[in-house]
């Protein structure tokens, strides 16, 4: 434990087929042959658990990338995490799922079941999904507006919360002599009728170990930040510099306070994708070797999907115009937060198109770093102790080798410095993140407190 504050880092392993670098599958040592093999993911999760990481995390979108240049996810994330749950005991299990393209009753069941199967380790990364490819798989011609998506997201979270709470914790009595299995006075219809959803309830299963999965959010647009500050217990975010990350951190914590929430219960966890080697020079060479494996056509595709801007007219060795991501004429969609990250890179570093594609190849806008184990640990500590992060979403460029390097060489330094646990203090993801277990909104004590 940190002698001064007792504050501890949270560290997730962000899973991503062969690794977070877009060309990782082409690396000679990649495990591309195993991306359809569930035991490979179970092994990675066990490695992360042995190092006492808080959670494994999966991003998700219900659509195909639309490219032949890299693997797609072969597993649906909640089933993948269920399979990991049965192969692990303590590590948290965070799945992304879309409020725009799921029905809340179905999704609530999946997360409740994962929470029960895992003994209280489920987390939900709540996304609204701006992908047009996804919208077209669900009856729509185009992505709904940011405002509409976030309005539905809030209604969806409210409904899911009521469903998870609709069985009070002590509703099951299982009294053989009387034949009463459930105290029906403790199971509540939710009777929700709103603009986007109409759900009667109650839920069809008892409350799960954590009460609700941990609520996580990753949007950084204005709507996304407001939503996160109101609902999220952890926030996954992408920043390239300490100062950008600090500004975001301050903004989120202050917004959370304005909702009457304890800012310590809103963890800010930026992504970090570390290339680790014995020397700084070797680490840079490793980073450059991966960038040398990229396919520019893929990078240009992703730039369009992620940043909403086409740069196909530029030569790869041409400096990208500083206003490319600020000019309204070029905007193809409303993925504002990632566009801002890219605009900041252009302004700060004036990269050529090739350099920009390489900057994004490692982490799609997340912070890609290279260095010795001590250098990586220093960066983590610097962000952690200077108001930029409560922990990190660790995004190994290549699985499992660069997760192993992080765990074997960086984590021990963090532990030695008192910044990261050497044993789990509890059994649930809420325990790992230092979050309370919420009472059911229907529980008698709460009803009493509110004067009902």
């Amino acid at each position: 434990m940190n002698a001064q504050t007792g504050r501890q880092l949270s560290l997730n392993a962000f899973l991503h087929d062969t690794g977070h670098h877009e060309a990782s599958w082409r690396h000679a040592d990649s495990s591309v042959e195993r991306v359809g093999d569930i035991t490979w993911y179970q092994e990675i999760a066990r490695t992360a658990e042995a190092a006492k990481l808080d959670a494994v995390f999966l991003a998700d979108s219900p659509a195909w990338y639309g490219t032949g240049y890299r693997p797609s996810h072969e597993f649906e994330p909640i089933t993948l995490l269920t399979a990991i749950a049965t192969a692990t005991e303590r590590i948290g299990l965070v799945s992304t799922a879309s409020t725009s393209f799921y029905e809340p009753y179905n999704l609530a069941r999946l997360f409740s079941s994962l929470d029960r199967i895992s003994g209280g380790r489920a987390g939900w990364n709540i996304v609204t999904t701006f992908s047009e490819d996804a919208a077209r798989n669900f009856g729509l011609d185009a992505t709904p507006s940011n405002e509409d998506r976030y309005e539905r997201a809030q209604e969806f979270v409210d409904v899911a919360t009521l469903l998870w709470d609709s069985w009070e914790d002590d509703a099951v009595v299982a009294d053989r002599p009387s034949g009463d299995y459930v105290d029906v006075s403790k199971v509540h219809a939710i009777d929700h009728v709103g603009r986007h959803l109409k759900v009667k309830g109650p839920f069809n299963a008892p409350r799960s170990p954590q009460g609700r999965p941990v609520y996580i959010q990753a949007g950084s647009s204005n709507e996304g930040r407001a939503f996160a500050a109101r609902n999220a217990e952890a926030i996954f975010t992408a920043h390239q510099t300490l100062s950008d990350a600090r500004a975001f951190y301050d903004d989120i914590k202050s917004r959370a306070r304005s909702f009457g929430r304890n800012p310590d219960h809103v963890l800010v966890l930026p992504g970090i994708s570390p290339f680790i080697a014995d020397t700084a020079e070797e680490a840079r060479e490793l980073y450059e070797h991966f960038n040398g494996l990229t396919v520019p056509a893929y990078g240009l595709d992703q730039l369009e999907k992620m940043g909403g801007v086409s740069l196909r007219h530029l030569d790869l060795d041409e400096v990208v115009p500083i206003e490319a991501f600020g000019s309204a004429g070029n905007v193809l969609d409303n993925s504002r937060s990632r566009k801002q990250v890219i605009a900041n890179i252009l302004e700060r570093d004036r990269p050529t198109l090739r350099q920009l594609l390489h900057r994004l190849a490692g982490g799609r806008g997340h912070n890609v770093v290279h260095g010795t184990p001590v250098q990586i640990a220093d960066t983590i500590q610097e962000w952690f102790e200077n108001g930029a992060a409560d922990g990190f979403n660790v995004m190994p460029p290549l699985y499992p080798q660069l997760l192993d390097a992080f765990i074997d060489r960086v984590v021990p330094i963090l532990q030695e410095r008192g910044l990261f646990r050497t044993e789990y203090a509890g059994d649930t993801l809420r325990d790992h993140y230092g979050l309370p277990r919420p009472d059911s909104v229907y529980s008698a004590d709460l009803a009493l407190a509110s004067g009902k």
Copy 2:
């Protein structure tokens, strides 16, 4: 193997919390304390696998029973089966899922992932869900008509089929030197626009081991039979007598032929719920002991939900009027098939209300039998060899004790008679059921054969 025909029984273990008898949880030896414990289901599945059963099966409805008199399912079925997949190697894994209340892209992902995680063992029991409680959890005020539900179901199955087929089996090339991971000419948008659904595709994962999960169906209304004969590879059904079962069997096989299908690839699997003991008298006593644990108020509730008829005005010891399930005035919903089963019981046996409730308490209209191991085996053989069944959905009244009795005492008799396997012949559920693996509808060979 049966010396005369070589035909082999298919046997599933139909899972249902403490057991299929509605009062099983009240039995002194029930495992009601473990219904929220995933390892309990894994143990049961391993028992069924050790006996070489074809599959475990889960029913499902996305709504609460609305009663305090028995346990609800604590797990969502696809996640439950995923957890079982990781604890077993060969046994099939069949989940019910509703075409009325899921989006096909989401459901296709869940089943594809289960099929991959299990190495080709997934089956989908396709239901349209007539429960009004379910409809009200998904934005509706009432259940859509039988016709509407089956129209959507057909469109849903067509869409899911195209999604599962949209990656041809050899689409993934994973060629490191060229950077081509997928041959994009073998990944197909499905571009579906129909009355109920609009789905562009393609799917976002490679084809799963079985190509598609095994298609199973359980509806017995006219629309249900037509749907089953056209789409299903196995049919779960409820009959009380050999002659009713034969009539159904003949009808389904002949309908399948009329769709140009091989009737051997449409297995008919009635439910059977066996009370097994050393003597016939002890088996009857066991059956009556369970019926003595029932709560009449629960049975009356279920009769309304299942049969669409209220008999609350009758005394428990009054004979149920023979026309109770045939009079349109009493009909609360359109669950026609189960109503027909009940009408047949009334006509044949003239039971009192209490006797009727007891008849339904064991298997909700499925065939509840009691007898010695030889008697149970004789019944199974009789139905199997007289055109009434290709196998059975075994519904133990109490888990695990009455599954154990079936496996330890009945299965060996069936094996001795050459009616049931002593080893699995293959690895997938399609192998166990004797079903072919379907080619993708997009595969070049098929396109050639159809002159495209």
